[in-house]
């Protein structure tokens, strides 16, 4: 069955959690016991309707404040697809959790409150979805019931949003607008009688038909080595296998390969998965491979096809989204981690802060604060094999780890 990973986005109180609750309810994905719990709690809270956000706001602090603080992962299936939804926070303070939720998604639903139209968090979240290169965006204009299902309001918001799209450089992105009421269910799963002027798909219809972008969209083989398998058993005395997950392309027995950063060359001898061998492994799969020659390969190295080399350098320029309360400043040391590779690095320069309304870069900035996005150059203590993020999401992205606190302080997308 096809799997579709989706993230929600939009400002606080735009109804993200309610929308997900509504999808679960209308697709009959809420089990009886969960539904009863929601009914009881909604009544106790004095609601005269079912408060579907209770289905996803799993923390006490979230229910107390009526907001989403951290990403909740929700799972449901239709006959056509399995869905994994990351319900992300709308509050600006928790932007980092929103980025976390969107990082592995193939599609995003951005909610807009029909009464408020496009506001700061709308373009911020749209910008982040562009930065992350989420290919399919659904703009759900919500709370249509509160604007009398007005076609003019829908059109006005759409036109306003279109101005943002015009500024975006990500031309391959597909953007769809749907008028909904998450609370009442209009155009979420069932077509609404209240919007006769809208002839498009409902939200779920759209998701069901979506030809989701392949998560590993590149054709080039990228195989970062996680660990070396050396069984201490008689029957596998000389076995030396390299374990990892393949990001992009297909790798076959006999392929000429290069090990990076050492540039050593060899050929793929065998592809093992558990107790079986395969001719070819395709992108997304985890396996163990052996090489023809006894070369030196260890964790953090990357195996690529001979003719498909990425960049190998001790310096890179990237856009970073800062996630730590301690500011990012030039000269600071961080561990840069990309997949299985972790390298001590220094922030060489901050070129400026990027405005999330696509307007400009503020070059006067010399530090990035929590939830700010900027362009930086990083100096690495060892050479790293990497790609541009637009060519490979795995080898084109990294996290920065604070050397003192060990926290994940930021995420970078390589230019």
């Amino acid at each position: 069955m096809d799997v579709l990973k989706i993230a929600t986005a939009g400002s606080v109180d735009d109804g993200k959690s309610t929308l997900i609750g509504r999808i679960l309810y209308d697709t009959k994905s809420l089990t009886t016991d969960k539904l009863e719990a929601i009914e009881t709690k909604s009544k106790a809270n004095g609601f005269d309707y079912l408060d579907f956000s209770l289905a996803t706001d799993g923390l006490v602090a979230e229910r107390e404040q009526g907001i989403t603080i951290d990403v909740a992962h929700i799972y449901f299936s239709t006959r056509k697809k399995s869905y994994i939804i990351a319900d992300t926070p709308g509050h600006i303070e928790y932007t980092r959790n929103m980025v976390t939720g969107a990082s592995t998604s193939q599609a995003s639903i951005i909610l807009v409150d029909a009464r408020k139209g496009v506001i700061e968090q709308t373009y911020r979240h749209f910008f982040i979805n562009n930065l992350l290169r989420v290919k399919d965006i659904i703009v759900a204009i919500n709370k249509m019931d509160l604007v009398d299902f007005s076609e003019n309001t829908f059109k006005a918001i759409k036109a306003e949003f279109q101005k943002l799209i015009d500024k975006s450089a990500y031309a391959e992105q597909n953007i769809t607008f749907i008028p909904v009421s998450a609370l009442q269910g209009d155009n979420v799963v069932e077509k609404s009688a209240n919007t006769p002027w809208y002839s498009g798909e409902t939200l779920l219809e759209h998701l069901e038909e979506l030809n989701a972008q392949d998560l590993y969209e590149v054709s080039q083989v990228r195989f970062p080595v996680q660990t070396v398998i050396r069984p201490k058993k008689d029957e596998f005395h000389d076995f030396r296998g390299y374990a990892g997950k393949l990001y992009g392309g297909d790798l076959s027995v006999g392929d000429d390969i290069t090990v990076l950063p050492s540039l050593t060359t060899s050929k793929v001898k065998e592809i093992h998965f558990f107790d079986k061998q395969f001719d070819t492994a395709s992108r997304g799969s985890s396996f163990v491979l052996t090489l023809d020659d006894d070369v030196n390969v260890s964790r953090g190295d990357m195996i690529v096809k001979f003719e498909e080399k990425p960049q190998v350098a001790k310096q890179l320029t990237a856009t970073v989204c800062w996630m730590d309360s301690k500011n990012l400043v030039p000269g600071a040391n961080y561990f840069l981690q990309s997949g299985s590779n972790r390298i001590l690095s220094k922030i060489k320069a901050i070129h400026g802060q990027v405005a999330t309304d696509f307007s400009n870069i503020d070059e006067s900035t010399n530090a990035l604060q929590l939830n700010e996005i900027g362009s930086i150059t990083i100096q690495l203590s060892k050479p790293l094999a990497f790609d541009s993020y637009k060519n490979n999401k795995a080898s084109g992205s990294f996290i920065l780890i604070d050397a003192q606190t060990n926290t994940t302080a930021g995420v970078g997308f390589i230019d």
């Binding site: 602090a61 596998f236 992108r283 799969s285 060990n406």
Partner: protein, 329 residues
């Protein structure tokens, strides 16, 4: 595509002979060999990161279907090498006998080390007090024994079979979940987790709970058990059992551990268990699913969630979150 006739007994697995030559796939947009191939690949990736990033990992093994699935995934991640970490069972003393029997057999077949630590010991030492009354359970008492065991062996990563679809606080968990010296989960301040860049860097005294099957649903686990022919304890299948009803749930009357009022009538029913926790907090469900195929079909049509039969979650709306803050896995 996948050879469904592979041997089920792990000790009899063939060594590295070539059974078939074909393409290994894990993509979701093509025909996959398994329904859950992408989840399997993700879990294997996580296992390998644990072994590479931590000094002393351990796999928390309860004898339930989720931890049995973890064991199979760990085998796959490191084959032909052995699973490079021990299993740890926190024994409440209230286990279904079938589970313990199964556990010992599995460990023998795999040739891995099993560590057992008993909740009873913590009770005897006066570290925890046994709950009293009708709903007494040792489930939450496990936390103390777990934290003690992690400290005793200096384990820095504890791998567990918790899934995000189980419960709404678990839906908020990271794959690498950092805990402090007291095992506490700081739910409002979790590390961002992006792409496959798993950050396992910790300070001395901290440890990480790792959840390789975070993104699996209950149905995914059952489908995997079916497709992989994984053996599971017999209590997961329909059987006749002496039971009684309380609060609309079916409880086992065969074990002294489960408290029963004198007016609660014992009857034989055809039941099975959907989860295998501490006997005192795990209710049975009516079922005629004798085969794994029927279990999968039953789960697919179920109108009640998996933890709907777990009394420990019904104590309050935040029961799981509170337990996790105190170090529960």
């Amino acid at each position: 595509m996948w050879d469904t006739h592979q041997l089920t007994k792990m000790k009899n697995r063939p060594t590295m002979e070539v059974l078939e030559k074909k393409v290994l796939e894990a993509q979701t947009d093509t025909r996959t060999r398994l329904n859950v191939a992408h989840l399997e690949s993700e879990a294997i990736y996580i296992f390998r990161e644990v072994v590479a990033q931590f000094e002393k990992p351990v796999l928390l093994f309860s004898g339930g279907k989720d931890s049995i699935t973890l064991v199979r995934l760990a085998q796959k991640a490191f084959y032909p090498a052995k699973i490079p970490f021990p299993l740890l069972h926190i024994d409440t003393g209230h286990n279904f006998p079938e589970t313990i029997e199964f556990r010992d057999k599995l460990v023998e077949e795999l040739g891995v080390e099993l560590i057992v630590r008993n909740v009873q010991d913590a009770i005897d030492q006066g570290k925890v007090v046994e709950e009293k009354g009708k709903y007494a359970s040792r489930n939450s008492l496990q936390t103390t024994t777990l934290l003690d065991a992690l400290e005793e062996f200096k384990f820095d990563a504890a791998i567990g079979g918790a899934r995000r679809d189980e419960e709404k606080a678990r839906a908020k968990e990271r794959i690498f979940s950092v805990r402090d010296d007291f095992g506490q989960w700081d739910e409002k301040n979790q590390r961002p987790e992006l792409f496959d860049h798993l950050n396992g860097k910790i300070e001395l005294g901290q440890n990480v709970r790792v959840f390789p099957i975070s993104n699996w649903t209950e149905l995914d686990v059952w489908s995997y058990i079916e497709e992989e022919h994984i053996e599971i304890p017999s209590i997961y299948f329909a059987h006749t059992r002496k039971t009684f009803l309380r609060d609309g749930m079916i409880w086992s009357a065969e074990d002294a551990v489960v408290y029963r009022e004198s007016d609660e009538v014992v009857e034989e029913r055809m039941v099975r268990f959907r989860t295998v926790g501490d006997m005192s907090c795990t209710a049975a469900v009516l079922s005629d699913a004798f085969s794994i195929q029927k279990v999968v079909a039953e789960i697919r049509d179920s109108k009640i969630s998996e933890r709907g039969a777990r009394i420990d979650d019904k104590r309050s709306e935040a029961a799981m979150e509170k337990r996790k803050q105190q170090g529960y896995f």
